[in-house]
Symmetry: C2
Subunit: 229 residues, 2 copies
DNA sequence: CAATATATAATTGTATGCAATCAAGGCATC
DNA sequence: GATGCCTTGATTGCATACAATTATATATTG
């Protein structure tokens, strides 16, 4: 079975690289030489790889400097904060239309995600918890039924994912977050848009405050000095 | 003087293509074969052109179908409406921080843009008017001081630019729009965030309502049938 | 004549070679 | 010994050749 089909090497490369960056396998600021990556993603030639770089650059995940190649985009604390503020705002925009438009079926699905998230919380499965948490928020935004909004929200989440995740290692916040999620679901079911918006706002701010302190000192080394060999 | 310097053919191609698409030289849904473009942008080889496609695809300006090449992204009426709604929301998010953070210098600059816009309005210089109008809104958003917000706002504006422009040909809206802009500037100077937000909201909705009707029938042909040869 | 199958042309996806640029180290000079 | 220049190696940008896929036109058959 020759895996050598025509038509998706670029996309595959982009997907794998995105995964690596978003999951944090590649450090921010780190240089990604075509050579190094091709050793990991064997059998890949330069052209699709370079096209993949361009795709990821468009998503803000890598930064390309002319004649100097690609690096994993390193965000400053200010960049991350700006983006968090934007995400809060986007969820706020989604709240009322989501309450108006959401189907019972969708609420059930979100509750299911929530149950799985609680299970992951009990099992202390960090990654799973984080993923489901994000998925729930995305689903709420999606429920607003605005494709442009959903797209932007997803893209911006991906961009700062690793920074938020870095602050997720401490459990103390989790139980409160779970409680907040339950309130959020409650308002969604009651279709109370304005309260949902306020709750999402508070939820985000609470979470980010914890995260910010945890990652604060991490920035000292990673960000100011873009990269070192 | 050989123009054959190394390091920016891809970017140049992307810029020129973007210009063409945003300005409306290429119709939505139209196929962009590598061949055809290379005839216009002479001396360009396939590699940088294809990389430019990927960049523009990331910006949502072109759509790439595997093994079938690139087309100018054709948005449905629903897509444009979603995006307009998002833009309203983003301006709303910007309003209060903008009032808080804007410098007098920046207000002066925006007023200058406004004066130039009024002049273009009087001279009935369609394009100039439209450009300045957009620039003013961008500057207000920028004044909020959130880079992520500014970036998204600019990108989404570009994505639907040609659709909004299509409805800009009728003058009857212009005088009202100018008046609204003056109110907007007033609230900005007064640093009245909530009124600014409401005004921006109303301004957008008024403008879009006119535009929507004007472009309504244009969609019948362009959109439902993506392209035909 | 319609419909399908097949061959052929056109177009896109990928690999690779060459040119230009950048980075590092050695050498000469002060 | 330090500093600046030049050479050399590595890396990126671009052009082009080749492979795979899709579209088109023709022929064949019912």
């Amino acid at each position: 079975m020759s895996e050598t089909k025509h038509g998706n090497r670029t996309q595959t490369a982009a997907d794998r690289l995105r995964q690596m960056i978003v999951a944090g396998d590649l450090a921010p600021g780190q240089r990604i030489s075509e050579r190094a990556i091709r050793e990991h993603l064997e059998g890949l030639s330069r052209t699709p790889l370079r096209e993949a770089f361009k795709i990821l650059a468009g998503e803000g995940l890598v930064t390309i400097s002319p004649n100097r190649g690609a690096t994993v985009t390193a965000l400053s604390m200010a960049d991350v904060e700006d983006t968090m503020e934007l995400l809060v705002g986007l969820e706020g925009l989604a709240a009322e239309p989501a309450c108006k438009n959401i189907l019972l079926q969708e609420i059930v699905e979100i509750e299911e995600l929530h149950q799985r998230m609680v299970a992951a919380y009990r099992a202390e499965e960090l990654m799973e918890y984080f993923e489901l948490n994000q998925a729930i928020h995305q689903r709420i935004v999606d429920a607003a039924g605005n494709r442009a909004l959903s797209r932007i929200y997803a893209a911006e989440c991906a961009r700062i994912r690793r920074y938020r995740f870095a602050g997720n290692r401490h459990h103390e916040r989790w139980d409160r977050a779970v409680a907040e999620h339950e309130q959020i679901l409650g308002f969604l079911k009651d279709r109370n848009g304005s309260l949902l918006r306020e709750m999402l706002r508070a939820h985000y701010r609470n979470g980010w405050q914890v995260t910010r302190e945890l990652i604060g000192w991490e920035f000292a080394g990673t960000d100011q000095e873009p990269d070192r060999k």
